[in-house]
Amino acid sequence: MVREDNDFLRDLEAVYRLSFHRYLRVAEGICGDLDLARDAVQDAFARAIRFRASFRGDGPLEGWLWKIVVNSARGVPRANETPGEQAGVALSVDGRCDGPVGELVARLPERQRLVLFLFYYADMEYAAIADTLEIAPGTVGATLSAARAALKSQLEEVRHG
């Protein structure tokens, strides 16, 4: 048991060191603040240690950790948005975003943002996202489509507005 425990902790530490910044990116997207995100990721791994007995080993360790990281980050209130940051997105002449592009994403409903982050930042498949967010796989696809449509619409508004 002690040997298994030590092996598990070593695996956990390896994932932490290798993938910290991927977890951090998703957590930052959720929290809206780098320091809070860092805190949330460290807390998530601490929770993983405390509740390691709940890891059944029937799926990848990383997947189990994603769920804990997302829940940890969702438990952190989003950082305050200042009026200036909410003002919109500045576009350069070629249409690329130069301003606070995160604000466009930040305006999306929470589920849409979560799905976007897990799809683009964590490179997760629909089934894994569904498992992490505890929603139906079909909902993941629909939510992703809705998020993309909303973002495209906002981009068009900024370009022509």
């Binding site: 002690v2 040997r3 425990d5 030590n6 902790l9 530490e13 932490y16 060191r17 910290f20 910044h21 991927r22 951090l24 990116r25 930052e28 997207g29 780098l34 320091d35 809070l36 860092r38 805190d39 460290q42 807390d43 791994f45 601490a46 929770r47 240690i49 405390r50 952190v76 249409g95 690329r96 975003c97 592009v101 995160g102 466009l104 994403v105 930040a106 976007l116 982050f117 683009y120 930042y121 489509s145 993309r148 449509a149 973002l151 495209k152 981009l155």
Partner: protein, 259 residues
């Protein structure tokens, strides 16, 4: 699939992928041993934190029965003095054994918990460190002889556990020094007083130091004075409730010869 480059690019640029070394793993281990509700998440203003701390201490003081207040002290683990480097190294060496023997001690978090004065000697010191599995390791150090003795335990288990940890300075088949103490842990808060009864009828009260999270147990240490050091004669450790009931009684025998 509607995944135009502009949307992907927008999402990719919304939150940058950071680089550099991940923050320290030891900090994660430390967090793992502390209940989240007991740790500041860094959002409370300093003054509010202070009010919470003072309020917490007041509540704790109010919750401690009078008998505990007399016979026990409450030690805030993370506010306690860090152990010296030599002691930290000694705790860290526990992790160098065979994997099954490693207790998972977080040596960097070793704290000085208790100093027990003894007549004509420097005070005996109790050091404690948490383990990753929620337990703890401890060492009793005698600065006069340079000897120490310790072990590891869990916060769950019997109401009280007592023993006689000892250490010998053994070189070339000869004993140059010896140290022993009656020591133990209390897990049941109903035990408000510990009494040590020597074989000659002499009895002493031994204070209990209750150590806060992540340790969560009470410790007691009583260095055995030379005049009471009688090999083969039992000593009795008795744990009393506040109303005088005996909750736990243990008989111990000192097998090692006096110095």
């Amino acid at each position: 699939m509607d995944d135009s480059p502009s949307v992907r690019e927008l999402v990719e640029r919304a939150v940058p992928l950071r680089s550099g070394e991940a923050p320290g793993w030891p900090d994660v281990l430390r967090r793992a041993t502390v209940e989240p509700s007991r740790r500041s998440r860094g959002r409370l203003p300093r003054r509010r934190r202070l009010v919470f701390v003072i309020g917490g201490i007041a509540l704790l003081a109010a919750a401690v029965p009078a008998a505990v207040a007399v016979h026990a002290t409450i030690v805030d683990f993370f506010a306690s003095e860090n152990a010296p480097e030599s002691v930290v190294r000694s705790f860290a060496s526990m992790e160098k054994g065979a994997p099954v023997m490693r207790p998972g001690v977080i040596a960097g978090e070793t704290r000085k918990i208790l100093e027990v004065p003894a007549p004509g000697r420097r005070a005996t010191v109790l050091y404690v460190a948490p383990t990753v599995s929620g337990g703890f390791c401890w060492t009793i150090a005698d600065p006069d002889s340079g000897l120490s003795s310790g072990g590891c335990g869990r916060r769950t288990g019997g109401k009280m556990h007592a023993g006689i940890p000892f250490a010998q300075d053994l070189r070339d088949g000869r004993v140059y020094g010896v140290y022993a103490a009656v020591a133990g842990r209390v897990r049941d808060h109903a035990i408000t007083r510990i009494e040590l009864r020597h074989s000659d009828g002499h009895a002493v009260d031994v204070p209990v130091a209750w150590v806060s999270e992540p340790i969560g147990v009470g410790f007691f240490v009583h260095p055995i004075p030379p005049q009471r050091w009688v090999t083969g004669k039992p000593v009795e450790v008795v744990g009393f409730a506040s109303d005088g009931r005996v909750i736990r009684r243990e008989r111990l025998e000192l097998e090692i010869a006096p110095p």
